[in-house]
């Protein structure tokens, strides 16, 4: 099942999908463009992975990390499907990152890898923008690069884990103004989803609503005001975002 949270006529609704339309809990059928899409979950702790695809690590001239390169994000950065994300006026390089987002459904501590997928509620798509002009080598990637207001679109749907038989067998793509600029496959993750859940839960308690953004493959290009950026993952969703000026 697919679940969305949307704002429509002054209220927040839970919605599902029916015949290519949105179906509100009260039965009303709406077009995708009739509503304001909210993030499908209100995230608690948001984890993100750096350099988790071998090709991307190579693209950035890094050797692959030996332990997961994890950083955290605040709720200020999360926005829904069809939102606009602002590009600062004075920067030269702002890029998208198409990522599989894993939503935790159960409290989890010391979960073995073999059972890790049991604590997953579902999956969605994230676009983890970075403004590279602000990169500094202290707690890198630093928050000014990765934790800017509205710079992490999430959605459109939360897809139940039961409907995703193998999260490590999904194709990811990004299209900028309808042109494919990034393509990859989740099988190429250096640390796969079960490994990440086992790693994080080995030193901290994961809770329902925690979200893990699992990293991005190669193929990053600069995006400019007016660009439409579509990050999509096979079977999970197609997340649309538009770059705005300040």
């Amino acid at each position: 099942m697919k679940r969305a949270r949307v704002a429509f006529e002054g209220a927040i609704h839970h919605a599902g999908e029916a015949d290519g339309k949105l179906r509100l809990a009260d039965g009303r059928l709406l077009e995708e463009t009739d509503v304001v899409w909210l993030p499908p979950v209100q995230p608690r702790t948001v984890f993100a992975l750096g350099l988790n695809y071998a090709d991307h690590a190579k693209e950035l001239a890094f050797k692959a990390p030996e332990t997961p390169l994890v950083f955290l994000k605040g709720p200020n950065t999360i926005v829904g499907h069809r939102a606009r994300t602002r590009r600062p006026a004075d920067v030269a390089f702002m890029h998208y990152e198409c990522e599989l987002a894993v939503v935790i459904g159960r409290t989890a501590r010391d979960v073995p890898k073999e059972r890790a997928l049991e604590v997953v509620a579902g999956y969605t798509v994230a676009n983890d923008y970075a403004v590279r002009d602000y990169l500094e080598n202290y707690y890198r990637p630093n928050l000014r690069v990765k934790n800017r207001d509205g710079c992490t679109p999430l959605g459109p749907w939360l897809v139940d884990a039961a409907d995703v038989p193998d999260p490590m067998d999904l194709t990811l793509r990004t299209l900028v103004n309808c042109r494919v600029t990034q393509e990859g496959h989740t099988r190429d993750m250096i640390f796969d989803v079960p490994t990440l859940i086992a790693y994080l839960s080995s030193f901290m308690t994961l809770s329902p609503g925690d979200v893990i953004l699992t990293g991005t493959p190669e193929g990053l290009v600069d995006v400019r005001p007016g660009d439409e950026v579509v990050t999509e993952i096979e079977g999970i969703g197609r997340l649309v975002n538009t770059i705005a000026g300040t």
Partner: protein, 222 residues
């Protein structure tokens, strides 16, 4: 040992800051200009203490497996009271509800190159005071003194006059790119040269005019 955990009076995320005090910058010295850092920090150096780290005074905090020492990063927590975006230094304190005592527990690490998630995000790694002292009762946060006490003996005394970015300036520079919300906490700055403690130790932090917290550390017997 009984494991006791209390809840602190804050509801949001805790954002920490390092390299915001002159002694820490002096301690790093030339290293700031060498690999992997390259040049001294320009923007505030921030990290996040997520919800699983938040505990209240009186709690027992279990150290991660294999850890026998933790750094005691005692500091002032600035509790946000109003949506804080693009604040000006001159009136930044208007967004502050008040202040609380915070102990940023961290596994010792010589490097500040990568985000300190394993080091700083274990369960219970962010004890906080039981009260928020109203902003009006604290005329100048830079005039405060932070004391760290282990088993009754003072092991560190820090004056917040050492801040590179005093609280209003820090608020302005952070909210330039990220909004802080009511209930969030911004730490005034955690020093690099810190006392340590281990299982069995009672650790207290006192800031005269703000409050006090006390916790007990235990090892992981599993």
């Amino acid at each position: 040992m009984d494991t006791t955990v209390t809840r602190p009076p804050v509801s949001g995320l805790v954002y920490g800051t390092i390299l915001n005090d002159h002694p820490s910058l002096e301690r790093m010295g030339e290293a700031l200009s060498q690999p992997p850092y390259g040049k001294p920090p320009q923007a505030p150096v921030l990290y996040i203490k997520p919800y699983n780290t938040h505990v209240g005074t009186g709690s027992t905090v279990r150290l991660p497996r294999g850890a026998d020492r933790v750094d005691l990063g005692a500091t002032l927590g600035v509790v946000i009271g109003a949506p804080a975006a693009r604040l000006n230094e001159a009136d930044a304190l208007d967004a502050v509800a008040g202040y609380t005592v915070v102990l940023d527990l961290s596994l010792p690490s010589a490097s500040v190159y990568r985000p300190p998630v394993r080091e700083k995000c274990f369960d219970g790694a962010c004890p906080m005071g039981s009260e928020v002292m109203a902003r009006a009762a604290v005329p100048d946060p830079s005039a405060l003194t932070v004391r760290t006490i282990v088993n009754g003996a003072e092991v560190a005394l820090r004056r917040l006059s050492d801040l590179v970015r005093p609280v209003p300036r820090l608020l302005a520079d952070v909210t330039e790119f990220m909004t802080l919300n009511p209930g969030d906490v911004l730490l005034a700055g955690v020093a690099l040269d810190l006392p340590q403690a281990g299982p069995g130790d009672r650790v207290a932090v006192e800031i005269a005019g703000v409050g006090r917290l006390e916790i007990t550390l235990e090892g992981d017997a599993r």
